[in-house]
Point group: C2
Chain length 224, copies 2
DNA sequence: CAGATTGTTATACATCTGCATAATCTCCGG
DNA sequence: CCGGAGATTATGCAGATGTATAACAATCTG
């Protein structure tokens, strides 16, 4: 009555790598780096621990791959937010802001994932460079949207500072909304973000937001 | 020639607890929770691992004590920033903002510490409540400073949103400045923070800032 | 259908982790 | 100066962790 050898099916290299990376990210997001052991990762991916070493040379390499996948995905989300929007600069910026302040960007798991990788990023020069690139790309995206606004007399230096400031608003609200999800009414973060950024830029973004549902909900009442 | 038993001196309970808590925080800040093993903590505190169990029932209890010490210290810093400042509301708020955007608040270790505890906080109800209290206390402090400004017709609801927005600016700049310290010139974060919050509140905070050295440095040149 | 390939599992191992307990040494009160 | 108390260290242990290697079987090729 010994447990017989577990049956399996072969899968493509791509599928296996994706499954292992997804499992790693899920575990890091939920329980931190300590929760992402080779055994836990393998179990979550539906395989045995040996496969990690087969597809990635070591657990360390899998970790780096998972982080790379994370920052790449982050960048894509910014572009996705702008996909279905028109050409009006104010509307585009407003859509970008709103997308950055609601799920799945604002989410406890996302912050958990970010926090879980922080130390590894700070200690690994390659990961740090990757993080820096990703951050600046996001900020440049934001800065380009700001530059497109119809405002007179904005210098490059001023533009840079505005981008940093707006990015800080987004980051800060992202942090607070994700860590304390109960602390805010639905849509409140989006409203506050749009108003704050409008104030910082001296341009009213709340005009162009016909397609941002959060702005039309009755405060104090969650929508169905 | 066996290694003889290590000599030691007795110390007060308070000193030992503080040393162990400090060692724990340092290790978590630098290397994450995984780096804070009982052996590493003891070594850093200059004792042997057994003492952890002697002064704290378990490593878990030490961890909670270290987190409690962290949030308590955070709260104090806000009060410290207002200690030597005058009674002018604008000046007080400006001092608070500036103090929140330079070392030791803006510091890689501080973010590392915060990130290291994130998962544990999210999974432990007691720690989560502690975190929530600490966050709201900080924000209320900020809101009180904002309320003291000489502005007409501000409702309570508006005040709350302004406090959330200003807090987000501080958090976001704190995050960016700590994780990418090279990315900003000295004083840049303070300048951007003051300008942004001034814009959000519709009140010029940069007038009252005679005692904020960052505003008088030549951009592009570090001060001695 | 037989054999080769290699993806996948199973097992073993050295190291590390937190914890428990015993052995000591320091310091205080007489 | 001495004895006791308890603070501190030393040692041991069960379980977890990452890794290495061997055994197996799913799929491909002929």
């Amino acid at each position: 009555m010994q447990p017989e050898r577990r049956s399996f099916i072969r899968d493509t290299e791509e599928n296996r790598r994706e499954a292992l990376i997804a499992a790693t990210q899920a575990l890091v997001a939920e329980g931190g780096p300590q929760a992402a052991t080779v055994r836990a990762i393998a179990a979550r991916a539906g395989v045995t621990p040996g496969l990690i070493r087969h597809y990635f040379g070591s657990k360390d390499e899998l970790t780096r791959a998972a982080y790379t996948a994370l920052v790449d995905g982050m960048t894509d989300k910014g572009a996705d937010a702008l996909a279905g929007v028109g050409a009006d600069p104010g509307e585009r910026l407003a859509a970008f802001v709103a997308a950055s302040l609601r799920p799945p960007v604002v989410d406890a798991r996302a912050v958990g994932l970010w926090a879980g990788y922080l130390h590894q990023v700070q200690q690994d020069a390659a990961l740090l460079a990757q993080h820096e690139r990703s951050y600046l790309r996001y900020r440049d995206q934001l800065q380009a949207l700001i530059a497109d606004l119809d405002r007179p007399d904005v210098t490059t230096a001023q533009l840079r500072q505005e981008a940093i400031a707006c990015n800080a608003v987004l980051d800060g609200l992202w942090l607070e909304g994700s860590v304390l999800p109960r602390g805010f009414e639905p849509g409140e973060l989006v409203r506050i973000g749009l108003r704050s950024i409008s104030a910082i830029l001296g341009a009213d973004l709340t005009r162009h937001t016909t397609f941002i549902p959060e702005l039309h909900t009755t405060p104090g009442k969650a929508q169905a």
